[in-house]
């Protein structure tokens, strides 16, 4: 027993001696370490992986990627391992990585830690820990316009009456990010089809093809005629294609798999943020505590419109709305466009500084609209507006 341990320890010691000189080189150059929850087989992570390669190649910096890192102690260990390997920016892509990134950030004040989708940077007060997100609700609103025009087309063709203009939406959890997403989609649709209503069902997972497919069946049986979702699998799209129900997708195109029903998809483009953080470190500038990409900075993109499924005039309507957004004339969460319990909102305290009781702490309504993703990058819109029915709230 003793002998074995001493052998193992000796090997370990020798290895450290050999490894030490290799670690010391190249301290000044920028090197980025990426931590991904899954590998490129997940559409969510693939979106990050592609952006990471694009950004690092554009900036001409070295990078390392660690895929399949779970949301646990391994995230901290991986982050520290990347620091040991000489990385001076660490980026992690999944919400659950956040506490481990913060733990690592506290131990390595000289390394910048950037975390996508997190909520705690603005309350942790660490100089080297940052959150980033994109105003994806802008993209979803545009997707909603495409869905609304489709409803109008169905009404004109006499396939449904104006009262039957019902949308369906499959969400993961009753989490602010999801609620902000489906509400903006709905508001986009209602901006062109005033009689639109919506039903939402939740799958309880960010990736569960079966549950998402079952959600689609439930919505179709309930009479929803256009469907969208906030989840990462092809479960719902393939079901919609089978029932010939048009849908708006998220994070990637489904044009190949669903040529007849797929209309358009919105996605977050992470390359602008990744390039930004690399530039900041190169120039010795501080990275923002919270960074929100917008449709103007090309952080929010729409995929190519599928003319087979989209209603005529969709492309022009989306372009016009996008131009108005970029010009600042169109606000997605305009308080004149929605009511809560029959009343227009003048004031709302949102839970921006996350605490366990989810108490509201920040006034987010001013100048006639809900200021989403301004007080922190991650969404905090969690209002339940009129016209949307939640079918289940187990998650």
């Amino acid at each position: 027993m003793k002998k074995l341990v001493s052998i193992i320890m000796t090997i370990a010691l020798l290895a450290c001696l050999f490894a030490a000189p290799a670690m010391a080189d190249d301290a000044t150059a920028v090197k980025v370490g990426f931590i991904f929850l899954h590998d490129e087989n997940s559409t969510y992570d693939l979106n990050f992986i592609n952006a990471a390669k694009e950004a690092c190649e554009a900036q001409g910096v070295e990078y390392m990627m660690k895929t399949g890192i779970p949301e646990g102690q391994e995230c901290y260990e991986t982050a520290m391992d990347l620091v040991d390997a000489g990385c001076n920016i660490i980026f992690a892509d999944s919400f659950g990585h956040e506490p481990y990134m913060i733990q690592a950030a506290k131990e390595c004040p000289d390394v910048e830690f950037c975390h996508a989708t997190g909520t705690r940077a603005h309350t942790e007060n660490l100089d080297n820990y940052h959150n980033a997100f994109a105003a994806i609700y802008e993209g979803r609103y545009l997707g909603g316009i495409a869905a609304g025009l489709k409803l109008n087309q169905l009404i004109e063709e006499g396939k449904i009456t104006a009262d039957q203009a019902k949308l369906g939406y499959i969400g993961a959890f009753t989490y602010a990010e999801v609620m902000s997403g489906y509400t903006s989609f709905f508001l986009g649709a209602r901006s062109v089809c005033p009689t639109a209503t919506m039903e939402v069902t939740f799958s309880g997972s960010w990736y569960d093809p079966t549950a998402e497919q079952e959600g689609a069946v439930k919505l179709i049986n309930n009479g929803c005629v256009v469907i969208s979702e906030h989840a990462d699998s092809m479960g719902a799209p393939s079901e919609c294609e089978a029932h010939n129900v048009p849908f708006v997708f998220y994070n990637g195109s489904a044009a190949d798999a669903c040529p007849n029903t797929y209309i358009v998809a919105s996605r977050i483009n992470w390359a602008p943020y990744m390039e930004h953080m690399i530039e900041c470190v190169k120039n010795g500038e501080a990275i923002e505590v919270d960074w929100t990409g917008t449709i103007s900075s090309e952080s929010v993109l729409l995929t190519e419109l599928n003319e087979n499924a989209a209603a005529p005039g969709t492309a022009e309507a989306i372009e016009a709305a996008k131009a108005a957004m970029v010009a600042g004339e169109l606000k997605v969460f305009d308080t004149a466009a929605f009511t809560v319990n029959g009343e227009k909102l003048e004031s709302y305290l949102a839970d921006v500084d996350t605490d366990e009781a989810y108490t509201g702490d920040t006034e987010v309504i001013a100048d006639g609209f809900f200021h989403e993703s301004e007080f922190r990058s991650a969404p905090y819109f969690d209002l339940r507006i009129d016209g949307i029915t939640l079918l289940d709230e187990a998650y």
Partner: protein, 370 residues
């Protein structure tokens, strides 16, 4: 003429016991062979120099002092679960529920950390964590044992199914304790107050776990080889009838041993949740409950040899992960390499236990030459 030669082309016979250095020599050769084979596969896929690949595998575990600690920590947890399932295996009780028993321990620990943090001092929370996790593991292991002892149910299926129940229970409580709501994750429990975190020895995060498991290894060795309980376990394992004949209460031994087995899995749960991870997820055990079966088996249920076999498995796993990162391959590739290596290792056990005899060429004509 056809009748004259009935001997098949190959046949397999059981070997006598080999001297330890021969059997371990065979095992060492197998690992070398497995490495060569993995090298060939990697070269075919990536075109890299094999020496780089082996250096990368080595680096994955020993590249930096931190990696050495991570290696030791992983060995400690895997070894702890392996030690836990070993008494049951010696009794020929196939406990493949280490995963579930460990999760039960994790759940109990996390529950104490979350529910007791505001009403008890830190030392009391830790005491509750240890006691409740050991109990939770013991109950999770005890239920299948009770059914086996009373109604002779199949313990393999029973313990396996208990794993799924534990996983779903953990999933249920994650939804209750998730922060923030709807995120599906608990995050680090008590990150600022550190209540319920096992104490660090000096500045070494993982040292306490390593020491606890090292002591446990020695104790388990003594328990299995030099105690009355250990002897009873061996007798029950060899033959239940013999055990009954000599007056051993078989039911009692089965239940007692599984309570111990489950409790030690629960201990692994505390070490994970309280000692290092400070969180709970449905995948926190990382399949160690199943890997432990292999560790225990490869070491012939000998706790001391298990240090080596658990080291080997963790070393290969971390090395394979490092290959994926260095050569830009995804995680599946490291799974392929680990699979190949395990295939070789398990295969070699066959050649240690059995001998393959080929039909003697000289006997073909019936008259031996020379």
């Amino acid at each position: 003429m056809a009748k004259r030669n009935q001997e098949p082309l190959v046949h397999i016979t059981k070997r006598g016991t080999l001297p330890w250095f021969v059997s371990w020599g065979i095992r060492a050769c197998t690992i070398v062979l497995a490495m060569v084979f993995c090298g060939i596969i990697t070269i075919l896929v990536t075109g890299e120099n094999p020496m780089n690949i082996y250096a990368t595998i080595f680096n994955g575990s020993f590249g930096t002092p931190r990696r050495v600690w991570v290696l030791l920590q992983n060995i400690a947890i895997l070894l702890c679960v392996s030690l836990a399932v070993t008494p049951a295996f010696r009794m020929r009780f196939w406990n493949i529920g280490g995963e579930g028993q460990m999760l039960a321990g994790c759940l109990a620990s996390a529950a104490c950390m979350i529910c007791l943090r505001n009403i008890m001092p830190n030392w009391a929370v830790i005491t509750c964590m240890v006691v409740s996790s050991l109990l939770a593991g013991a109950v999770w292991g005890g239920i299948p044992a009770l059914f086996k002892a009373k109604w002779n149910t199949n313990e393999t299926l029973f313990t396996l199914m208990m794993n799924y129940i534990a996983t779903q229970l953990v999933a249920y409580f994650i939804i209750i304790w998730e922060v923030p709501k709807g995120s599906g994750a608990i995050g680090i429990i008590n990150q600022s107050s550190q209540i319920g975190w096992l104490p660090m020895i000096g500045s070494y995060k993982y040292l306490l776990n390593v020491i606890i498991v090292a002591v446990l290894t020695v104790l388990m060795y003594i328990y299995l080889n030099y105690s009355k309980h250990g002897y009873e376990i061996s007798v029950v394992g060899e033959s239940e009838r013999t055990a009954r004949y000599v007056g051993i209460k078989v039911d009692r031994v089965i239940i007692r041993t599984m309570l111990l087995s489950g409790a030690l899995c629960g201990l692994a749960g505390v070490l994970l949740v309280g000692g290092t991870d400070h969180t709970m997820t449905t995948t926190i055990t990382g399949g160690r409950g199943f890997t432990a079966v292999m560790v225990s088996w490869l070491a012939k249920f000998n706790p001391i040899w298990m240090i080596l076999t658990s080291f080997l498995l963790v070393f290969l796993q971390r090395g394979a992960g490092e290959i994926s990162t260095q050569f830009g391959l995804n995680q599946s590739f490291s799974d392929i390499l680990t699979g190949i290596i395990l295939f070789f290792i398990i295969g070699c056990e066959f050649f240690i236990t059995y001998k393959i005899n080929f039909r003697h060429v000289g006997r073909k004509g019936g008259v031996p030459h020379v």
